[in-house]
């Protein structure tokens, strides 16, 4: 009598254990082939060599709230250099009792940034909120009105100065950059050549040469008796520098515009300004939002260069704290801390720009 095997349901036929689950994943991602296995083992060995000592140094043997003498005796990381100097590192020479003001300013800025993150909040009123926010930041830092004690700009420093230079720098540079980009696209040869020369000149030289210029050459440009304070001069250098880069980004957006858009606007009878304001720029600027965030990131990182002309930004206050004989020799800890601040800010921005790029990439 012929016998047939009992029918087996699909659930009974399972793949081998080594192809699914954790084991399967490890096999597929870490040990697929001899070369990859060797690579994985090498990397694991290197990590084994590097990570435990680092964790020991940074966490296990570290001191967080101790005097510098205790630190010098201990073998681990001395995070006390930060906890002991945190107010100086963050706020520089800003008067001790008034440091709530820059702190509040930073909070306003962060709140604005977090709120603007969501694209549904992008309304004209948001622009006003930014204007008011930046203005109140300035008032908080400067003082002198509303019963706030005036604080000289020579005392500004630390994180507020870094944020001030980058945020104000980008805000002021953006319109300039847009104008330069339009100028470069212009059909008027004189205007075009001025813009091209400016953009290429600025992009060809390092920021530091512009900062040098602002600190040593710019005072010569002014008539006798007129002086401009150092922070403002550095701020101008950063604005002029950033504007050239923004111009190139915006130009990319303008070139991405279809010819038909210009022609349609013209056939409606719009003049140049109307065409740009109502048709071209709203579309072109939308395309260039993600690269603009990248420019904000590099502007934020580049503000650290003002150290070289002796402005007390975040990096310079850290260095000053380290030059105290008590805390000398703990550079690694202090620099790691500042690096963490920069990293968190930039990482947040670059993630945001990537997400935005995906969201804005509609159609096409």
């Amino acid at each position: 009598m012929p016998q047939t095997a009992p029918p087996r349901s699909a659930a009974d036929v399972r793949p081998p254990v080594t192809n699914i689950g954790v084991l399967g994943w490890i096999r597929a991602n870490l040990f697929n082939g001899p070369l990859n296995s060797l690579l994985t083992l090498t990397v694991l060995y290197l990590l084994w060599q590097a990570l435990p000592p680092f964790i020991n140094w940074a966490l296990v043997d570290s001191l967080w709230f101790s005097s510098s003498e205790e630190c010098k005796a201990a073998g681990g990381a001395c995070w006390s250099v930060i906890t002991a100097n945190i107010r100086f590192i963050l706020f520089g020479f800003y008067p001790h009792d008034l440091q709530w003001r820059p702190l509040l300013g930073i909070c306003i800025l962060i709140a604005l940034l977090l709120y603007s993150q969501n694209r549904r909040h992008w309304r004209p009123s948001l622009a006003w909120a930014w204007l008011i926010g930046l203005f109140s930041m300035g008032v908080l830092l400067m003082g002198g009105i509303f019963g706030l004690t005036a604080v000289e700009s020579t005392n500004w420093g630390g994180l507020p100065l870094t944020l001030l230079l980058s945020v104000f720098g980008l805000t002021a540079a953006y319109p300039v950059g847009v104008v330069l980009a339009l100028g470069r696209q212009s059909r008027m040869p004189v205007v075009k050549s001025f813009c091209v020369v400016y953009i290429e000149l600025i992009r060809g030289v390092p920021l530091i040469s512009l900062l040098f210029m602002s600190s040593v050459v710019f005072p010569l440009f002014l008539p006798e008796g007129v002086t401009v304070n150092k922070i403002l001069r550095a701020q101008m250098a950063i604005i002029l520098f950033t504007a050239a880069y923004i111009a190139e980004v915006v130009r990319g957006g303008l070139q991405g515009m279809d010819r038909g858009q210009y022609e349609a606007a013209k056939s409606l009878g719009l003049n140049y300004l109307q065409t740009m304001r109502l048709v071209i720029l709203p579309q072109a600027l939308k395309i260039v939002i993600p690269p603009s965030v990248s420019i904000l990131i590099s502007a934020f990182k580049d503000t650290s260069l003002v150290v070289i002309i002796a402005l007390y930004d975040l990096l310079k206050t850290t260095q000053t704290a380290l030059s105290d004989p008590k805390w000398m020799g703990f550079s690694a800890e202090a620099y790691l801390f500042v690096a963490l601040i920069y990293f968190v800010c930039c990482w947040f921005m670059s993630n945001y720009s990537r997400r935005l790029e995906k969201e804005l990439d509609t159609g096409r």
Binding site: N29, V205, P206, I208, L220, D302, G329, A332, Y335, W347
Partner: protein, 390 residues
């Protein structure tokens, strides 16, 4: 097309005339601004008794420079000092660019590796090093050399004969010998031969379709010929090995902590950006290209050389150029850690002579020359590898 009847267009509505007006206004505006600035500057210079012009370049510099490629002493002129700085910038940028391209390519390929661990680590590296300001990284490496590394007596020995300590990086080099001269000449000869061989192989392949194993023969040529030269020159093997005598090393080649810190910072920072460029380039070549190339029977080496790379390079080269330029421009941050590059020497010159305008102008001109010549070269290269359209 012109309107048939002589219609009179009002002046303010005629785009051509308006364009001329706007341009005229721009020229006048820029002219007035420059006049104002120049007039102020001249007045200020006169009041401070600073003479303009570049005659200060011939005066005695009277400051020492730590690292020089050409002979220099404090008695030499400012011009010579600036030349030293210029060469220092050149050497750090050149070595930096070579190392960055190598490291960046490795990282970019690792980022796309099928090995999860390698891809993750590479991604973390790229993200971390991109997001920390280069200046901060330079300070860190500088502190690393002066605070963390031990003195020469407890120097870390990376490899036999290579030492790392707070005096910098010290390693052994062969003692100069006539034999090396022959080896270098032989290498040049090999390169020239290779060039002609390549042309011959291309011509033969075009005529007969036979493929010449150019890569293997070339490799043999460039390795064997210099070896032959070295052997004919007497096969010198003497090495100058660093030895600890007293408190410092003697012999070998020592590279200063400033140079090493600058190079390390620049390379690690820029490589993160180059890695992203390389990744984008590789990803830009569709999977189908590789499969198509394999299916028409090309060997994997040919797939890479003839199909993948030509297309990937087209995407990679323009952003890679701008990263190279960024590295060169960022090398100006040497001034912050005391490596005597061009900006640093020019800064000292400005402080000593008060010739601020000339000094800053020199800095700008030098970097513009770097930028323009690099982009000219890259434009040429780009044109060479661009898609040839019908």
């Amino acid at each position: 097309m012109h309107s048939t009847q002589a219609e009179k267009v009002p002046f303010l509505r005629d785009p051509d005339k308006l364009a001329i007006l706007y341009q005229l206004l721009t020229v006048i505006g820029v002219g007035l601004l420059s006049y104002y600035l120049i007039a102020n500057t001249l007045a200020n210079l006169e009041r401070q008794n600073i003479s303009t012009g570049f005659s200060f370049l011939e005066r005695e510099a009277a400051f020492e420079i730590g690292e020089t490629l050409v002979t220099y002493s404090a008695a030499d002129s400012y011009g010579r000092a600036l030349l030293v700085g210029f060469l220092n910038t050149l050497i750090v940028s050149f070595i930096g660019i070579v190392l960055t391209v190598i490291l960046g390519t490795i990282l970019g390929i690792a980022r796309l590796s099928s090995n999860w661990l390698v891809a993750r680590l590479s991604a973390i590296y790229i993200e971390v090093f991109q997001d920390i300001p280069i200046l901060l990284q330079l300070f860190f490496w500088y502190a690393f050399f002066y605070e963390i590394l031990p003195g020469p007596r407890q120097a870390l020995s990376l490899l036999p004969g290579v030492f790392l300590c707070n005096r910098g990086l010290i390693f052994g080099v062969p003692v100069w010998h006539q034999g090396f001269q022959y080896a270098i000449l032989a290498l040049l000869l090999a390169v020239v031969l290779l060039f002609f061989l390549k042309r011959w192989a291309a011509a033969r392949q075009a005529a007969s379709g036979k493929i010449f194993p150019l890569f293997r023969v070339g490799l043999l040529l460039v390795t064997l010929l210099p070896l032959l030269g070295w052997w004919l020159g007497g096969a010198p093997t003497a090495m100058s090995v660093p030895e600890l005598t007293g408190f410092n090393f003697r012999g070998g080649l020592s590279i200063s902590p400033e140079f090493t810190a600058l190079l390390l910072g620049l390379v690690l920072y820029t490589a993160a950006f180059v890695a992203e460029v390389v990744r984008a380039g590789i990803q830009s070549v569709g999977k189908g290209q590789r499969e198509a190339a394999l299916s028409i029977g090309l060997r994997s080496g040919h797939v890479l050389n003839l199909v993948i790379l030509p297309q990937a390079l087209r995407v990679i080269v323009p952003p890679l150029t701008s990263q190279m330029l960024n590295l060169t421009k960022n090398s100006s941050l040497a001034v912050a850690i005391g490596y005597p590059d061009f900006v640093s020497v020019a800064g000292t010159t400005i402080n000593q002579t008060g010739q601020a305008i000339e000094g800053v102008a020199l800095i700008m001109v030098v970097y513009l020359i770097f930028s323009l010549s690099t982009s000219a070269f890259m434009n040429w290269y780009n044109k060479k590898i661009a898609i040839v359209e019908r």
